[in-house]
């Protein structure tokens, strides 16, 4: 499933990374402690988090995640948005929390 399809099926708002929406998503990961995520986020995963800061964008890029999905309507700060656009990293937004959204993502990726 591509990031685009995920966004459509789950009604996620697209905040950045419009040129990379055709990337395949092969899994998911939830986590908000950047140092934890840094060693565990799988490649091509959709990373569900409330951390909308520039370091989160850098970590997602480092680990080659398919996209960031901000949950609980967490804000994406200006610096992070700029960085995500520079890196063309897809950042999506959901009103649901990480648990609820995670369940939906898992269903779609099964």
């Amino acid at each position: 499933m591509t990031v685009q399809e995920l966004a459509e099926k789950l009604s996620l708002k697209i905040l950045a990374g419009r040129e990379s929406l055709s990337r395949e998503v092969t899994g998911g990961y939830t986590g908000d402690l950047l140092s934890w995520v840094m060693s565990r986020l799988p490649e091509n995963a959709a990373w569900l988090t409330v951390m909308g800061n520039i370091n989160a964008v850098a970590v997602a890029s480092l680990k080659d995640a398919a996209c960031i999905i901000l949950t609980d309507s967490a804000p994406l700060d200006a610096e992070a948005l700029e960085k995500a656009r520079q890196l063309d990293l897809p950042v999506l937004l959901s009103e649901r929390n990480s648990y609820e959204l995670g369940l939906k993502v898992a269903e779609l990726l099964r």
């Binding site: 402690l33 950047l34 140092s35 951390m51 800061n53 850098a58 480092l62």
Partner: protein, 246 residues
């Protein structure tokens, strides 16, 4: 007693998010130009540019307090300050053993440049300095005091990397005597929400990562002398002084 304008939270080119222009000499010269009486160098999880900054400062009569901005296990930032380069480097060694050995990727996180007091590049720090150390926020001040220094939570009003955003309130076990509130922070609102801050020395520092973000001095402290030792004693409440957020 002398009124000394301070900035106790500054980054050099060693911090990956720090500008390449934040060299030991540029930091010292800018601080002097702006009218500061004492500054601290507090790079993320490292004191490797402290010796150079202290020497550059000494050459121009500006005391530079050896320091570090430690990222605790809980991802809260705590400023640690030390009386001497030796004690700071001792703390640096302690921390180095407790951060994950993940290599920096300069093209993603930025360079981590080590310099000497002539601003000559002497190396690059290879371990990414943005990770969390295996040190709990509750232990930091005690540890810093063991090295003759002190510690206070950084930018407690920030929505990320602050003790308040990670934990909700300042844990009494942490035994902090001071706390930093961002320059634009609403002190009254913060004290209302977090009354445990009311008895602390409330500091205002720049957290500047770029030269242009070093502001005109406003916060000051009355000290018997302009030295790291005196400043640390004041923060530890070992001497009676007056702090003014300006």
């Amino acid at each position: 007693m002398i009124r000394v304008f301070y900035d106790l939270h500054l980054h050099s080119c060693l911090s990956p998010c720090g500008s390449e222009d934040m060299t030991p000499n540029n930091l010292v010269n800018m601080a002097l130009l702006l009218g500061y009486g004492i500054i601290a160098l507090t790079d993320h999880n490292s004191c490797r540019n402290v010796p150079a900054a202290v020497r550059a400062g000494a050459a121009r009569g500006l005391p530079v307090v050896p320091g570090m901005e430690l990222c605790t296990q809980e991802e809260a930032h705590v400023i640690c300050l030390f009386p001497t380069v030796e004690t700071a480097l001792g703390f640096d060694r302690y921390v180095a053993q407790r951060i994950p050995k993940i290599r920096n990727r300069p093209e993603i996180f930025g360079r981590q440049t080590v310099m000497d007091e002539r601003d000559t590049v002497v190396g690059e720090e290879e371990t990414l300095l943005l990770n969390a150390a295996c040190v709990s926020v509750n232990h930091v001040r005690g540890l810093a005091r063991g090295f003759g220094g002190t510690a206070f939570p950084a930018h407690v009003d920030r929505s990320a990397y602050s003790v308040l955003s990670s934990l909700g309130s300042l844990p009494p076990e942490a035994d902090f005597t001071a706390a930093e509130i961002s320059a634009k922070g609403d002190v009254q609102a913060l004290l209302h929400r977090n009354p445990e801050l009311r008895d602390l020395i409330l500091l205002k520092n720049s957290d500047a990562h770029y030269l242009e973000n070093m502001p005109d001095p406003s916060a000051s402290v009355l000290l018997p002398e302009k030295s790291p030792e005196c400043l640390i004693a004041a923060l530890n409440r070992e001497i009676q002084t007056e702090w003014n957020r300006g």
